[in-house]
Each structure stands twice: as C-alpha cells, then as structure tokens.
Subunit: 387 residues, 2 copies
C-alpha cells in the first residue's frame, strides 16, 4: 500500500485472497467485501458470519504494524448495510453500497485478480478502478510475533511428519530386486504420502500434493511421485502444510536414500548442503535477496555442477533459492534474481536443489526467520542422506 489514504477494495475469501484475512483479521470461508480508507476498515460478511466477524476483526496482523493509530473497524452484513432483499446475494451490490457508506466516491485500488464483473459494475457507477502494480500490503512480508508462532505450528507439523516418513523409509526392507517393502507390501510414494498426511492431520494441518518422488521422478521438482520406491536412489520429500484453523503455512524438504547412495548422489547431496549453508550464511536484514540466491549458485559452480537444458529438459539448479511463507505458501519476498532486500521478520524458505534427468533430484529446504544479525530456524530438522 503506497499511502494509507488510498482507498483499497478487496473481494474474496481467505483461500484465494489472503490479503482479506491479513488486513481485517477475519478468516473468510465464503466471499466477503473489504474496504480500507485511511485508518478505517469496513468488512461485509454473510449474515450468519456477523458474530464471528466482529470477534475476529478485533485484531489483525496488518494493524499490528500500526499499534499507535486509532483504527476503526466496522462490520456489516448485506442486511445491516441496508441492502434490499433483491440485492443481498450480489457481491457487486455489497461493494457499491459499502463505497457509498464509507463516502468513497472517486476511486479505489484493487488487486490485479479483482473480479472483472464487480469492477465493471463499479466503473459503470463512475468509480475509478486502479489495479495495483505492486503488493497492496508490503507489511505482509514482515511477520509479527503472532504470525511467526502460527507459521511455527505448521512447520512443527511438517518436521514431525518428515521424521515419521523418514523412519518409515529407514524401516523398509530391501528385496532382492532392490525395491523397498514394509509389512509384506511394496513401499510406495503413495503409502509414504499417507503416513505424512496422517501426522499432519494429528496436528490440525493439511498438505495437498505432498511430494514423495523416488529415483528419476525426483529430477522434476514439480513431480509428486508415484509407485514403488527403490533402495539406493534419492527420494525427495517436500511437505508444505497449511494449518486448518489459522491458515498459515510451513515448508520443509528433505532427500534421503534407503541403503547406500552412489558417488554421484553423495556428491550432489554434499553440494546442496553446502549451497544451503552458503545461502543461509549470507542471510541477515538488509542483504539483497539476490545475494542469497547467488551464494547458492556460486557454490554449485565451484563444484562444477552444470545448469542448463537438453532436449527441452532443464537440469542442474533450476529454480530460485526460496520464497516467503505466510498466509500463502508462496509470497513475498522471493529469494531469486529479483530486486529487493531482506527485512527482519521475513519468513523465507532456503531450498537449493540439483536435478539431473538420468539420476534424480536432491533438495534440502528449511524455513527460517530473518533477524537483524542473521537468521534462525523456525523448527530445526536433521539432514542426513542415507537411512
């Protein structure tokens, strides 16, 4: 947000517009309309949600950045906003009536993903709509203590789930064909994924699309993985749970080998660990995030690991070093080539990796908090290749 005097209009629910929850404090299961003008916030929620909305908007992570200001928050339902019955089901009417109520007549700033249908209706009523070119609330990248505690809960669930998954792999037997077996059945990506899901649920978390990718499957960082797992191959696991109560995410990756890793895998693993250590070593408030990324890149170069593409297939270190984590699994700041400096209170992943189509993938990922002098783990978790 450039100036707090700009009127900002949001429409959405928590799942697709985390800014609503960030600024208002309200966890929106259904779509709501939110307006901020100066130090006033307005929220329109479905009739049945009025009570919860009044409670939850008593504080918000965004407003915590401005504790000395006199915030005013007003919560409406379509009915208390004064909408007639025929208009109560239309979000565009909620928005228009709310702008009238708040005496915002000139224009509003919206997110690029703001619904076109509502923007169009407001434009017809001579309200100027401006799509933001940057984040509306850059404060969101700087986490409050309460936000860090929430992210830690999800990260803690990820760590416990990862340990359980690694133990399940370590306890698997190796059959004569080199496949893993447990309880008399093949050990598979799907079974390990279920082990992880159950631990997450015990901790009120859930993660869609957990990655458990063995062997060459792991060479594609987006591949979820499927089928029987083998010994002596890398198994990449990436767990990014969202807490079901408060909506903050965690993010953790480890790579393990059941049995003995060959020299290629061992060299790759050492390089990824070293790259992570180098990247972490450069983190502190004020450092360019590109510097953190370049540290990882340099470490791979020094060890002669090539990055490129062959037959349209990328190989090497083919993604950025990290990203912010909060009410979205990917949010500011990005830790890659883009401009920008880290700030104290940023929560970021540090996740260098190496991917070679004929060998597989290695990724090690931790989520850390940036501090004035350095960084700290949200929740530490062991790093070991062979299990």
């Amino acid at each position: 947000m450039k100036k707090l005097t700009d009127a900002v209009l949001l429409v959405g629910k928590s799942a697709d517009c985390p800014d609503v929850e960030y600024v208002s404090g309200f966890r929106a299961v259904d779509q709501v309309v939110f307006l901020q003008a100066g130090w006033k916030q307005y929220l329109v929620v479905p009739e049945l949600e009025l009570g919860r909305a009044r409670r939850e908007t008593e504080s918000s992570a965004f407003r915590d950045h401005y504790p000395d200001e006199k915030w005013e928050v007003e919560v409406f339902s379509p009915k208390t906003l004064g909408l007639g019955k025929q208009h109560r089901a239309r979000l565009s009417e909620w928005a228009f009536k709310l702008l009238q109520k708040a005496d915002v007549t000139k224009g509003v700033t919206v997110l690029p993903q703001f619904p076109y249908g509502i923007a169009h209706r407001l434009e017809n009523m001579r309200i100027k709509i401006t799509a933001a070119k940057e984040e509306l609330f850059p404060e969101r990248a700087v986490k409050t203590a309460d936000e860090i505690a929430k992210i830690r809960q999800s990260q803690q669930a990820a760590v416990i789930a990862m340990r359980t998954a690694i133990a399940a792999i370590a306890d698997s037997e190796i059959d004569r064909d080199g496949f893993l077996r447990a309880d008399g059945k093949p050990q598979t990506s799907e079974r390990i994924r279920r082990v992880i899901e159950k631990v997450l649920i015990e901790h009120d978390c859930f993660c869609r699309d957990i990655i458990v990718a063995g062997g060459v499957q792991g060479a594609d960082p987006h591949e979820m993985g499927e089928g029987p797992l083998r010994a002596h191959e890398a198994i990449v696991m990436d767990i990014f749970p969202q807490h079901l109560k408060h909506g903050y995410w965690g993010d953790l990756s480890r790579t393990v080998v059941r049995g003995r890793a060959g020299s290629n895998l061992r060299r790759m693993y050492s390089a990824v660990r070293a790259a992570q250590t180098a990247a972490l070593g450069s983190i502190r408030a004020g450092v360019k995030s590109a510097t953190v990324h370049q540290r990882a890149v340099a470490e791979f170069k020094r060890r002669k690991f090539r990055t490129g593409a062959e037959n349209g297939r990328p190989f090497g270190f083919i993604h950025s070093t990290g990203h912010g984590v909060g009410l979205a699994i990917h949010e500011a700041p990005s830790v890659g080539l883009a401009e920008g400096r880290l700030k104290s209170g940023n929560v970021i992943t540090v996740e260098p990796g190496l991917y070679y189509p004929d060998i597989g993938g290695i990724r090690i990922e931790d989520t850390v908090v940036v501090t004035p002098q350095g960084w700290r783990y949200l929740v530490p978790c062991e790093k070991r290749l062979e299990v």
Copy 2:
C-alpha cells in the same frame, strides 16, 4: 455458453476456476490460460506442465457432450507460444498472445470473476471483454458417466467416514454428567473430526471444515462444532470430501443422538426424514427444482414446524433443499426457490434440516443422480437417530 461460436477466455487454476478443468480436461495446479473458439480449444500451461497437459487434454467432460464434433485442442507453454523471456511470467501476455495466435481479435466472453488486471490489459489492446451473465458451460450440471463415477468415489469415502464416526459416537461411554467419553478421555467434536479425516485420507479424499456440531451448536448450519459432546443431544455431521486426484466432491450429512433422544428431537428427526422422503419423491427429469424444495417446505408446515427469526437469529428450515455437486461443492442446479428444471444426469444434494437455537439442529443429506423417471442414490447410507 450461448453459442459455441462465442470465444470464451478463462484464466485460473482448478481450485478457483473449475471450468478450466471441465472444458479442457487439464487439472490445473497453477494458473493457466484457456481459450475456446468454435470447436477449437487452446490451453497455455507452465513449461514444466506441457507433457501432462497434452495427456490430460485428450478428453474432457465438456467435450464428451459433443462426441460427434471434430474438436481440435492445442496446448502451449509461454515459450512455445512464442513469448519472449521478459513476458513469460505474465498471464496477461499469455492471454494476449493466445488471442493473436487463435485470431480472436474482436472480443471474448469471460466469467464475472475473471481477473480485472488481465481484462484491463486486453481492453487496452482493443479487445472487447464481456462478463457472462449466466454459466458459461451449462453442460456442467449434466454429468457424464465418467463424472458420476468420480463423484461416487468421493461419496463412498464420505459414507465410510460417516459410518466410522457414528460407530465412534455409539461406542462412547456416557459419564455421570452426561458427557461422552472414549479411551478414558472426553469425546469431542475435534476427535470425531479427526476420525473422519483419517478415513477420508485412506480413500484419497480430503474435507476442510467437516461439521461435527453437538447440542445447540448444531442450530447454526455453518457452525463446525467444538468441544465435548454430550449424550441425549443431537450431533449434526456434514462431510463433503473432495477427491485429491480428480477433484470431484461428495456431500453427506447425518444427525445422531448417543443415548435417548427427547420427544422434541424425535419429532424433528421424523419431520426431516419425511421432508427428505417427500422431496426425493418429487425428483425426476423435467420437474421444477422449486417443486422439490416446496415439497420439503410443505412437509414441515404440515407438521407445524415454524420457520422465521427471533432476535436476529433464524430458526426452522432456513436453507434451500439442495445444490449440484461436481468439480465444485456448490454448483448448478440449485434446489431452492430459483427457476429451472431438473435434468437427467444432474447430481444434487437433498438436505432438508430444522434448526432451533434452544434445541439444536437436525439435517439429513444425501447426494443423488436425477434420472428420466426418478433418481438414485450415489451411495446409500443408513439413517438412524439414536445410537
């Protein structure tokens, strides 16, 4: 879609724009751009998704409605679309380039929730944007055999989870204060929810915000429920799982009492069962959906159950009788007061309920397929109040 000759542009991922998956067949984890012009479909996906997108777009539920047409489907990545490196990260550039490629120069129809930022960019390039007033693909309400099979998988998971949850409640002991206990600990909404979640995961499904609401909590149909459960009170359970692999939903509610239900609860339960039976009895292709709803309403009236509001709190039968289920948990057709007639192949819930703030709630919900002569359960599940 009014005419197949109108060009339709979609932007989004499966989670927020199920139409993308419905028309193209592609399960979009990240945002994609889709264009349909006549019998041609175009899809732009991230580079790493090209292979999967080509496989998954070989068929789509939408195209199955037009099996005799010569469909052409082209899949691009930003790179194969010919976008320069500086434009490959911008969805608005994907959309603009795709329209050029497809020679769609005049205008496109979009959904009301189409992102304003992209619409604005296209309007600047003199492309006329029209927000659809109705569903773009009304075919979606009429399920193919393959879609029904997928919804049945999710419904089956819901039924097994419901039986497990009811068994856990039935097996709970009643302590001297009337609270439920199991394994030496209080039986709670949270514990039952976890039982349900674990069964769903065993069936590759997940459900957020499962309702397990005991006593007066159940009087609010949106209340998830929390804390210790009591004997002799109604416990409303609503399970609506989404399949993690294909994305189709199921929906099932039951209400049980551990121990003895008082006469109020028994009368309410009988009325809700009778209302559901009456509503179901009216279902067949060609019937107005409002008729189905009115059958439930009439049954409650006949039995003198009042609907209204007191101190701003609604009571009685305070929601519609049902809704369509498919790639969204709530989709067309709605089974309430709105206009429209049921069609063979509609998959709808039938879920009358009664809610009284000083007693609690009763809801019974099944998901059924509309047939030419009537209807059938997707998966049947027992109905019994006392357990």
